[in-house]
């Protein structure tokens, strides 16, 4: 019987693997043959797809492992140990769920950096200065040496910051498992037990997202996140500067030059619009505001005057033509209501 069951599982796993392979082939794009293409790198769209498939595969593998390990049919008291086996190990598929949230961007950045290193080395620069730490630079290529050193330092800082970020992600992963245990403990009452792998998975997702949210909202995460972004941008910026210098030497227009043209063009468009409008837009706002004030003043004047000034009130009323007063009435009413009714709290 045991052999039969083992055979079944082996056959089943083989079939499942074939199915996954078919899925992967179905949705993977065939890269176009291009002699000028850079070293193999997955297209941006494929990264998402690969992550999706990896996520589903991870779930499936986890179910398989859980069943092979006996599922929930364990002696009383062993469920916590079982949870650790199912969710806690670094090698288990779900550890990738959190880990992968950074891998796509980090991977492409690392790949880009590696390509750059190779390009620099093959471009006749030899060993990249700064790899062994900052050293004084001098001579004809002093500026380039300084740039290389700055870039090497920036890349190192970026990698260190990414490592700190990953530490926090792993912490969230570990705390998620701890939270799962706490949540499961609440399910010990009869009728509330978790009786399916999907139920267990969903509970783990809830626990992990809660743990992640706590960490992601912390001051520590804010600092690390900011540092990761800033160091990566610094490295990218230095890479761009180096690339632009090479482009200038080759007579190729640079992004800075194009961007500068765009900035000037946008400024000219603004000036053109402003001169064509002749400032009428601003005047329209001013006129509207003045109208409101005039209306407010008129209404104040139209209010019954204090007993001592009946003559003055009559004088104002006579000064207006009835038709004009009638015309002006609707708009002013709302303006005055809005103005007097506004509750400014500052």
């Amino acid at each position: 019987m045991a052999d039969l069951a083992g055979d079944f599982m082996r056959d089943y796993q083989l079939l499942a693997q074939q199915s996954w392979d078919a899925w992967t082939r179905q949705f993977q794009q065939t890269p176009a043959t291009n002699p000028f293409a850079p070293p193999p790198a997955p297209a941006a769209g494929n990264e998402t797809l690969e992550r999706t498939l990896a996520g589903m595969k991870g779930y499936f593998d986890w179910m398989q492992a859980g069943i092979a390990g006996g599922g929930g049919a364990t002696p009383v008291g062993d469920w916590q140990q079982q949870l650790q086996q199912m969710f806690g190990g670094a090698a288990q598929p779900f550890s990738q769920a959190f880990g992968s949230i950074d891998s796509a961007s980090a991977e492409s950045f690392t790949r880009q950096s590696q390509t750059w290193w190779k390009a620099v080395q093959h471009g006749g620069f030899g060993e990249v200065p700064g790899m062994q730490g900052a050293t004084p630079a001098f001579g004809l290529n002093r500026e380039q040496q300084m740039q290389q050193q700055a870039l090497a330092a920036a890349l190192l800082a970026s990698l260190q910051a990414s490592a700190r970020y990953q530490e926090l992600i792993q912490r969230a992963n570990a705390q998620g498992v701890q939270r799962l245990q706490d949540k499961l403990a609440e399910h010990a009452e009869p009728g509330r037990q978790i009786d399916s792998m999907k139920g267990l998975y969903d509970l783990w997702v809830d626990a992990s997202e809660e743990a992640y949210a706590d960490i992601a909202l912390s001051d520590e995460f804010r600092d690390v996140y900011g540092e990761m972004v800033n160091t990566q941008m610094r490295a990218r910026q230095l890479q761009q500067e180096q690339t632009e210098r090479l482009c200038r030497e080759l007579g190729v227009p640079t992004r800075s030059e194009v961007s500068s043209l765009g900035e000037r063009l946008q400024a000219l468009r603004r000036e053109f619009r402003a001169s064509r409008a002749g400032g009428s837009v601003d005047h329209a706002d001013d006129i509207a505001a003045l109208r409101q004030e005039v209306v407010a003043l008129k209404r104040q004047l139209a209010k019954p005057a204090p007993a001592a000034t009946p003559r003055a009130a009559n004088k104002v009323a006579r000064a207006k033509s009835p038709g004009a007063a009638k015309k002006a009435a609707p708009k002013p009413a709302s303006a005055v209501t809005s103005r007097t009714g506004s509750r400014k709290r500052k």
Binding site: G72, W79, A97, D195, L200, Y201, V205, L265, A288
Partner: protein, 355 residues
């Protein structure tokens, strides 16, 4: 007390086999599925400039509204969330209620738009869109419906051009960017935005999407797709799922300068509620807004926490302020069946009382 984990191995094996079977069968369904369409409510182009377009929805019958409603969406993602499909279309529902609906489609910025500022967007593009609709109807003022970042833009616009706005509706709009549960705000607080924009230029849509996915990494990167396996055998549900996927990832890059200013002034400095915001050199004071305001927010919004929207009530100047809490999330407020029942009728009712 009993063991909390009591998984029947036979059932687990069955579940795993079912999962695998659905996955295998679903491959054929997915292969045969064509790209789902959206934005199918009939419409006409009434204004365009650079990459933006203003659309007027023609609808089945004549509008009964005296004042048209212009929808101002965020620069992130596309406005077609409001017209995703026939039975999940806020636009279509508003038309049925009798509203006359316009919307701005901002388009997809490229390098030529790198230097567009918030002033260009709010006092430039948005103002000219409003003028175009006003002129079509020969009206001094129209109704604005601002969504998310578009809601923040609409607040700024109303503060600066109040005489052109009759009623203002804001939906899932961030106002106080420093509420303690605002993850996006926390993450960008220590970012050197100048370095970021100077380096990146325009901000790629892929990067923006990546950041949004990391707000709930497992739910959005894994659990969602595991759930998809359950609907692989249902062409209708699968099409709906893929339509939403298309919308989520069909998103424009962000113009660099506008992004820089939005992050610095709104997310980092929280100037909208501090009263220190300036757009195009003009102060933006929410306290000066005296037009009627309807503020709708989602109680389970993970992008714009409810408190970030609720804050509007404390800072807006008008005495005619209405707040509506919707039981749902940032996206569900447009596409869920509850939203179809509750939101457009509430908007219409509120506008009708002020027409």
């Amino acid at each position: 007390m009993q063991e909390p984990l009591r998984i029947d191995p036979t059932r687990a094996l069955t579940d795993m086999a079912t999962f695998q079977r659905k996955l295998a069968a679903g491959m054929a369904n997915l292969r045969d599925m064509r790209e789902p369409e959206y934005a199918n409510t009939p419409r006409e182009l009434v204004y365009s400039e650079d990459k933006l377009k203003v659309w007027h929805f023609t609808g089945a019958g004549k509008s009964r509204a005296k004042t048209p409603l212009l929808i101002v969406y965020a620069l992130v993602n596309t406005v077609w969330m409001t017209d995703l499909q026939a039975d999940r279309s806020m636009v279509s529902n508003l038309l049925e209620q009798g509203e006359d609906v316009y919307l701005i489609e901002w388009g997809y910025p490229d390098g030529a738009d790198r230097w567009l500022t918030l002033d260009d967007y709010i006092n430039g593009y948005l103002d000219r869109c409003v003028d175009a609709v006003r002129q079509r109807h020969d009206l001094d003022a129209i109704n604005l419906l601002g969504i998310c970042q578009g809601g923040a833009f609409s607040l700024c616009y109303t503060a600066l051009h109040q005489h052109k706005v009759k009623n203002l509706i804001t939906m899932v709009t961030p106002v106080d960017f420093h509420t303690p549960d605002n993850m996006l705000s926390s993450w960008c607080r220590n970012m050197d935005v100048d370095l970021f924009v100077d380096t990146m230029g325009n901000i790629p849509a892929g990067l923006m999407n990546y950041v949004y996915l990391t707000l709930k990494p497992i739910r959005l990167n894994q659990q969602k797709y595991i759930g998809m396996v359950d609907i692989l055998d249902s062409p209708v549900e699968l099409e709906n799922f893929l339509r939403m996927e298309r919308w989520i990832f069909d998103s424009p890059d962000q113009a660099g300068e506008a992004f820089r200013q939005f992050i610095k002034d709104f997310y980092q400095a929280n100037k909208l509620v501090k009263g220190t915001l300036e757009i195009g050199g003009q102060p933006v004071d929410l306290g000066m807004i005296t037009r009627p305001v309807l503020n709708i927010f989602a109680e389970h919004d993970h992008l714009v926490p409810p408190d970030a929207s609720r804050a509007l009530g404390k800072h807006i100047g008008t005495t005619d302020y209405t707040q509506l809490a919707f039981k749902g999330g940032h996206i569900g407020i447009y596409v869920s069946s509850r939203a179809q029942r509750e939101v457009p009728p509430a908007i219409h009712q509120w506008l009708r009382q002020r027409s």
